[in-house]
Subunit: 208 residues, 2 copies
DNA sequence: TCCTGTGAACAACTTCACAGCG
DNA sequence: CGCTGTGAAGTTGTTCACAGGA
């Protein structure tokens, strides 16, 4: 049985809601409640969870701490993952200060081509020259590389990361990356989301 | 006939590819070429474009400048859209320097609650106190609000924007926003994308 | 009775395959 | 011939509706 692409995305949403409920000390949660918090249907919540086994109790609901723990495991968030950041520009700098640690991601190093940035330490993370990317990635045993470089440098940066033995890439560059080896790539498309918003606003105006 | 949710997202990708080809002076593009650049199938490109009329020539392809112009129109990117930014933290500051202008988005003002930030001017954009959000949004005729505040402040910020007559919201906060009026909301989920990556890396390890 | 887990129906989206036009 | 546009088929994802356990 194979997972819908969005099931994992929703699992992440469920997790965030469970975090909130957990802080409040809630011990039991029903699919309906979780669904309501995440703005999806309750049957979808049950379906999503059922892909990974039955952790609910019929007539009762789900044990919250247990469910939360299980999702953390499923998503591989129960162990520390080492990350490097490529490109210490606007977005890159913001990412160095992003609280990824809350989910067990640890940024080990950053890379940039600008000599003025090399040697800087931001939020405890040192900036190294871009040429060191594959060497350090490999030495430190890094699993994830974040690409926050200009689009024209994105492919080359990805190549260096892959060479360093990376397993996955999160790219903020707005062009498709062609990995030299088979690694997982995920995109964050800030400009695209804004453009979609523009379309939908335009669409509504047209309908009126 | 209604559009698949992803057609618009892909339109944005096509546009980006067309920009590149346009700069190279290319005049004619075939669905296959565009498909190849965007890593989708050629029939999908044709289907996506066909929702908006036939702008291709059979046996030939698409006139590039014409197609590009048409997509800009469809997405409402052919006119300036006014934007405000709420929350001048890490991400917010990065967004103030983001080249949104390339697609006709103009950030008119930023808002924050921190007195130390109020009055600052970043990349030509002035930071105002958060209380002014709805007043200024309304006065300036702003269409889009970007939310880059902590999650606990996201809903209140959205309310202020909606009160100011906003049409759409781009939120970087990782919680669903419940708009008081019917506005378009689009999310950028940085942490979620990283978590999805984590899942997929874990998944691959399990398969080995 | 309440709520989960899940076949079966339904809906959405993509690809196939080819007619038709330049 | 080459490439678009598009019905029809195929695939994927979601909801319905209910059996069954607590």
């Amino acid at each position: 049985m194979k997972l819908p692409r969005n099931t994992i995305r929703r699992l992440s949403h469920y997790l965030r809601c469970l975090d909130i409920l957990d802080l409040k000390g809630v011990q039991l949660v029903k699919s309906r409640e979780l669904a309501c918090m995440c703005r999806v249907s309750d049957s979808l919540v049950r379906r999503d969870l059922s892909y990974f086994g039955d952790f609910g109790k019929k007539g009762v609901g789900y044990n919250l701490p247990e469910l939360r723990e299980r999702i953390l495991q499923i998503m591989g968030l129960d162990k520390v993952r080492k990350v490097v950041l490529c490109g210490v520009g606007n977005i890159g700098t913001a990412l160095l200060r992003y609280p990824f640690k809350e989910r067990n991601f640890e940024i080990m190093a950053a890379f940039d081509t600008d000599p003025k940035k090399i040697g800087m330490v931001i939020n405890g993370i040192r900036v190294y020259p871009a040429e060191k990317t594959s060497e350090l990635t490999s030495e430190l045993g890094v699993e994830i590389g974040i690409i926050a470089v200009p689009p024209e440098a994105a492919q080359k940066t990805a190549d260096l990361l892959v060479e360093g033995g990376i397993e996955g890439i999160l790219s903020f560059a707005l062009i498709p990356i062609e990995p030299k080896k088979d690694v997982v790539i995920q995109y964050v498309e800030i400009a695209t989301e804004l453009e979609i918003l523009s379309f939908e606003i335009e669409e509504r105006k047209r309908r009126r």
